[in-house]
């Protein structure tokens, strides 16, 4: 079973930009209530990914550089990457279905590319 991968600025290039499959990046913080609310959903999505996409997490307090690089202005912010490019994002608490929909859209486009 897959779990979300904790990443930072050093591992971002390989884990996200060079990934052969779409990647979800969850920007979160310990002090963020909505982040705690969606954390179980993010874990579920990672476990159910079945190799179609990768789920990663960035603790903004540990790695503010990535937050600044992508102009994150609220947490949680979910960024969706495919083929090394930022394709989509969700800001704030989002339902599991909305997150999966965006990932499945990327998986579909990634497979057909």
């Amino acid at each position: 079973m897959n779990e979300p991968i904790n990443i930072n600025e050093a591992s971002f290039e390989k884990a996200v930009l060079q990934s052969p499959i779409p990647v979800l990046v969850d920007f979160w913080a310990e002090w963020c209530g909505p982040c705690k609310m969606i954390a179980p959903l993010i874990n579920e999505i990672a476990r159910e990914s079945d190799g179609k996409f990768r789920v990663t997490k960035v603790n903004i307090d540990d790695d503010p550089a990535l937050m600044q690089r992508f102009s994150v202005r609220a947490v949680p912010t979910l960024l969706f990457f495919s083929s090394g490019e930022l394709k989509d994002q969700l800001v704030g608490g989002a339902p599991k279905q909305a997150i999966l929909e965006k990932l499945n859209n990327l998986s579909g486009s990634s497979t057909s590319a």
Binding site: W31, G33, A74
Partner: protein, 155 residues
């Protein structure tokens, strides 16, 4: 003219409560209350209030400061503005306005949702103050009510 009980430089928390946890300084909730408790503790007039309590530690952790260092600044007699400047200069985490706002909003609305033990503690505290105040669902509201009742108010 200020009386001893009203002197905000050395608040006497045996006579009145500290500022509400909802009052902000530099956008941070909790901070003014923490400063009041620190000043009172230094003066030996903190009563039932404790500087660097678990709630204060949320602030300490969020900005990344040393609570003992902050206490030294208070002992030097610095005012709120000077203390805020010291925090902004020495904090490990240089927080952006949106982070401060989001953190403060969360802390202000935060209830005892984390685990059963915390919920039980919250219920025990509220139960000692009132059996009927079902509107009290956040830590900030509970502390405000506790302050009010502690100095003669009726719940």
């Amino acid at each position: 003219m200020t009386t001893q009980n009203q002197n905000n430089s050395t608040p006497d928390l045996t006579q009145r409560p500290p500022r509400s946890p909802r009052i902000r300084l530099g956008g941070y909730v909790l901070l003014p209350r923490m400063l009041d408790k620190g000043r009172a503790e230094i003066a030996g007039k903190n009563g039932e209030y404790h500087y660097n309590c678990p709630l204060d530690q949320h602030f300490v952790k969020f900005v990344g400061i040393d609570s003992a260092g902050l206490r030294e600044q208070l002992a030097a007699g610095k005012g709120d503005g000077e203390i805020l400047n010291w925090i902004n200069e020495t904090a490990e985490h240089k927080r952006t306005p949106w982070e401060i706002e989001q953190w403060s909003e969360y802390m202000q609305r935060r209830g005892p949702e984390s685990d059963a033990e915390t919920r039980a503690h919250f219920g025990d505290m509220l139960g000692k103050i009132s059996q009927s105040r079902e509107d009290i669902t956040t830590w900030a509201a509970l502390l405000d009510l506790d302050d009010y009742v502690s100095f003669g108010g009726q719940p």
